[in-house]
């Protein structure tokens, strides 16, 4: 090797050594001595939040079902009247008279008054900030749905979703009109008995569509008219009418 070649070779080796050393130092400074890369952390959080979403959806579906059942029970217990009317009762039976009647055109709204309260209570128990609302579909069928976004947070990661749960209560509010029609017929027949009146209301008691419990008190007839609702139990419509 000539002298010039020796210089070039020495400088090349020195340059490579300096390059390697400085690059290594820079990497050490940025990475640290030992770095444990938690590659699954974000994925784990995403999976957890997604599962949490599924659990919340499940909870809300159940909350809708049970709130609807309980609201229908309460509505029946108040003879289908609005809570705002604060109707007079005899032995827990609303007296159907004056304004204190069910209004078949607004039964869904009166039902929703009670449903909303029950649903909110369930949501509060599970620390969920979500509302419900009611509407009618294109075929005019009444349904309930969630309104709002639920936000979850885990280790600084925020995750939001709109549950969009829709629920159709399996209940026909026209049942109130059917019962009133039957009750009026029974009362009419009982009145027609005149002095032979025995307050047995045979036609109503023999009716197979509902379970009837009828009794009289202070010149009023008290009715408990029940029908099973899915697997949850009976919904009883309670009311009273003048003899």
């Amino acid at each position: 090797m000539n002298k010039k070649g020796a210089w070039v070779a020495t400088l090349t080796v020195a340059f490579l050594f300096v390059y390697l050393f400085s690059t290594s130092m820079l990497m050490k400074r940025s990475v640290g001595d030992v770095k444990v890369e938690d590659t699954g952390k974000l994925s784990g959080i995403a999976i957890n939040l997604n599962l949490k979403e599924e659990e919340i959806r499940f909870f809300l579906e159940k909350a809708f079902e049970y709130s609807a059942f309980n609201a229908l029970k309460d509505l029946g217990a108040d003879g289908g009247t609005s809570k705002k009317l604060n109707c007079e009762k005899i032995d827990g039976h609303v007296i159907w008279r004056g304004d204190c009647y069910f209004d078949i055109t607004s039964m869904e709204d009166v039902f929703f008054e009670r449903f909303e309260q029950k649903f909110n209570d369930y949501a509060k128990e599970n620390n969920l900030k979500i509302n419900s609302q009611h509407d009618y579909d294109s075929e005019g069928k009444f349904f309930l749905k969630t309104n709002g976004i639920i936000e979850l947070q885990e280790e600084g990661i925020r995750y939001g979703f709109e549950p969009g749960i829709i629920f159709y209560p399996e209940y026909n509010f026209n049942i109130y009109a059917d019962i009133l029609r039957k009750v009026n017929d029974c009362l009419k027949k009982e009145r027609e008995k005149g002095s032979a009146r025995n307050n047995l209301f045979e036609d109503c008691r023999d009716d197979k569509d509902f379970k009837w419990v009828i009794k009289t008190e202070d010149k009023f007839v008290l009715f408990d008219v029940s029908k099973p609702y899915e697997e949850f139990g009976d919904i009883t419509i309670r009311f009273s009418l003048p003899e």
């Binding site: 090797m1 070649g5 070779a9 080796v13 490579l16 050594f17 390697l20 050393f21 690059t23 290594s24 990497m27 050490k28 990475v31 640290g32 001595d33 030992v34 770095k35 444990v36 890369e37 938690d38 590659t39 699954g40 952390k41 994925s43 784990g44 999976i47 957890n48 599962l51 599924e54 659990e55 499940f58 909870f59 159940k62 909350a63 079902e65 049970y66 709130s67 059942f69 309980n70 209570d121 369930y122 128990e125 599970n126 899915e230 697997e231 949850f232 139990g233």
Partner: protein
């Protein structure tokens, strides 16, 4: 080949070995970054939700659990479902579901346990992983449901 060429070749090889050695000595590269073990318990998480969604003649299992609050005759149905569905046949591992009703009543079921036999003390001893969920109660409040994977 001239003797000089042999000598230059020898020094060049020596230089290359020295560079590789220096590189290894400095741990050049990303050899000091390690990936942590990643474990997901989503099987346990999913198992509870899936168990509650099991279809029965009276709605899904969650509905039966809810109905059992007011009518204890449903507990035999829950036991039957547990026997069929929680027996994953994993060696030395048992799956339990513990239900706590709003009034404090508890019900524990698993394929290996006759209802009510498993005591709270026994339950605490075997508990290893718990997944907790709540469902609404038909009365008021919420029902707490836990899936416990136990190694006795």
């Amino acid at each position: 080949m001239l003797p000089d060429d042999w000598r230059d070749g020898f020094f060049a090889s020596l230089g290359l070995v020295a560079l590789v050695f220096v590189g290894v000595f400095l741990k050049f590269g990303a050899g000091n970054i390690f990936a942590a073990d990643t474990t997901f318990n989503d099987d346990v998480e999913l198992a509870l939700l899936s168990t509650l969604r099991i279809e029965t003649a009276k709605g899904d299992l969650a509905d039966v659990i809810v109905l059992n609050e007011n009518d204890e005759s449903y507990s035999s149905m829950i036991e039957g479902i547990a026997t069929q569905n929680l027996n994953f046949a994993i060696k030395d591992t048992e799956y339990f579901v513990r239900i706590t009703y709003p009034d404090g009543d508890k019900l524990i079921f698993s394929p290996f346990t006759i209802l009510g036999i498993l005591s709270e003390e026994h339950f605490k001893k075997i508990k290893t992983i718990t997944k907790e969920m709540v469902i609404p109660s038909l009365n008021e409040g919420v029902i707490k449901i836990e899936l416990v994977v136990g190694n006795e």
